[in-house]
């Protein structure tokens, strides 16, 4: 009698331990996905920052009257590089997107520039990168949502906190972005 009770207790304990181990591993896997998708955003931000000096050089000769626009771009780029927290980075990156948009808007007034092969390539490259930034953020938010749902739902929420898992923050999109996610310069 006592022996079989003991066995039942042992079995229950083993099952619970196995469930916790399974949950822990699944959460670790998700957490790594979150990290990885965040790194993907950084890759794209860096790519854009690398392209901007080329753009400024290509444009400088043509745009004599747009000094402030170019300065704004350089400033916004520096801000993205300096930003450390995800929140700062998001804001600085949105700023840079805005300044780039205004640059490509005024480029409409310079037919010579618009016909420039190098400029056209850079424009395509930057538009592609802008979209990749948006897409990598979107993917990050998707993964964060899966992760957060997992640790907030019962019974996971009882254990997740004890195991040291915290909710991850997702990116807020600016009002401008919500209107039009994809960029077409």
């Amino acid at each position: 009698m006592a022996l079989s009770t003991l066995w039942i207790v042992i079995i229950i304990v083993v099952v619970i331990v196995l469930l916790i181990v399974g949950l822990f591993n699944r959460l670790i896997r998700l957490k790594n996905q979150v990290k990885n998708s965040f790194a993907q955003i950084d890759v794209q931000l860096k790519r854009r920052n690398d392209l901007i000096p080329n753009l400024v050089n290509a444009v400088k000769g043509y745009m004599k009257h747009e000094k402030t626009t170019l300065e704004n771009i350089t400033k916004a780029r520096a801000a993205v590089m300096k930003a450390t927290t995800p929140d700062e980075k998001g804001k600085a990156s949105n700023m840079l997107s805005e300044t780039l948009k205004s640059l490509f808007a005024v480029s409409e007034n310079y037919p010579d520039l618009k016909a420039n092969q190098n400029f056209m390539q850079l424009q395509e490259e930057l538009a592609g990168t802008e979209n990749k930034i948006a897409y990598s953020r979107q993917h990050y938010n998707d993964i964060v949502m899966v992760f957060n749902t997992k640790i907030q739902t019962f019974p996971n929420n009882v254990i997740a906190g004890t195991l040291g898992f915290k909710e991850e923050a997702s990116f807020e999109t600016s009002a401008e972005e919500r209107k039009n996610v994809k960029v077409e310069f």
Partner: protein, 299 residues
């Protein structure tokens, strides 16, 4: 997420179903072939060996086979920056490695994806598609292909294409050798065996294309709706694909010259000219494009 996992599991089951069905049909051919040669056992062994080798080859190079059948050439980022940016962007959105990009020189508007697994997938688009669609529309189409890749539809579709292809080829071969052999006098079969052979050969010749048709049907139509829906999840913009499908349906030249019966189900919209009858709808590899547009617009 859950849907994707379910889809992947279902696709793995379908993969096995296809392979088993393929071997059953191949053995039937082996039986007929063996009967023809006068040694059924030998015929079965030969076709089984052929089947195993062919399946292995298909698993390792099926995507390249399909690409070369379809006349698709792998392209570089320098040649098609716009296509590459779109594909790279959507692989980020789907959380997948970037697939290889192929282009088919054809004015028709069409695209497909293939490969054994998401890690070595390929996407092919026609030059007509690149010329006539704007960025949002191209993104919609690429996102549709991306969800085929993510759900592992591509593996089943690839297997179906190459296995169906070889069954069609074999049944034609059998029919021809049957017609040719009928006149030859070299056979040492008795009259009885000839009759059995004729019956088996005829049954096979009739059955094989029907089975091939069934395989394709079990694979395509529902998953096109699925891929439309999850593709719209990646772009967050269903009107993009809807407007692309509209352009595709209005295109006067839907025919992709290099598409054939075995590869038709791979494409985003049927590469053949539409026949306006109820029967063609029942046996078509794709759901009606108007219905797909409607569903996208209701999202």
């Amino acid at each position: 997420m859950r849907i994707t996992f379910d889809e992947i599991r279902r696709n793995n089951v379908k993969t096995w179903f296809l392979i088993v069905l393929f071997f059953l049909i191949i053995s039937l051919f082996g039986f007929a072939f063996g009967l023809y040669m006068g040694d059924i056992f030998m015929g079965l062994i030969i076709t089984t060996i052929f089947g195993v080798i062919y399946t292995l080859v298909v698993f390792s190079t099926g995507d390249r086979m399909i690409m070369s059948i379809s006349g698709a050439k792998e392209v570089t980022k320098q040649e098609y920056p716009h296509l590459f940016h779109t594909v790279e962007g959507l692989s980020l959105a789907a959380g997948l490695p970037t697939p290889k990009c192929y282009v088919i020189k054809d004015s028709a508007l069409n695209a497909f994806a293939t490969g054994r697994k998401p890690e070595n997938a390929s996407i092919a688009v026609t030059t007509g598609l690149l010329e006539k669609l704007n960025r949002q529309e191209l993104e919609g189409v690429v996102a549709h292909e991306m969800s085929h890749i993510k759900n592992n539809d591509i593996k089943v579709m690839m297997l179906a294409a190459v296995l169906v292809g070889v069954i069609l080829l074999l049944s034609q071969f059998l029919l021809r050798s049957f017609l040719w052999g009928g006149k030859g006098s070299g056979r040492k079969n008795s009259g009885n065996a000839t009759i059995i052979f004729i019956v088996v050969g005829l049954v096979l010749a009739i059955l094989a294309p029907i089975i091939a048709e069934l395989i394709k049907l079990s694979i395509s139509r529902k998953r096109e709706y699925m891929a439309d829906a999850s593709g719209a999840m990646f772009t967050r913009y269903p009107p993009g694909l809807a407007s692309a499908l509209k352009k595709i349906s209005k295109d006067p030249d839907p025919l992709v010259d290099t598409a054939n019966k075995a590869t038709a189900h791979l494409f985003i919209s049927s590469p053949f000219r539409k026949k306006k009858s109820g029967r063609s709808r029942l046996f078509s590899t794709h759901p009606p494009i108007e219905e797909r547009i409607k569903r996208l617009e209701e999202m």
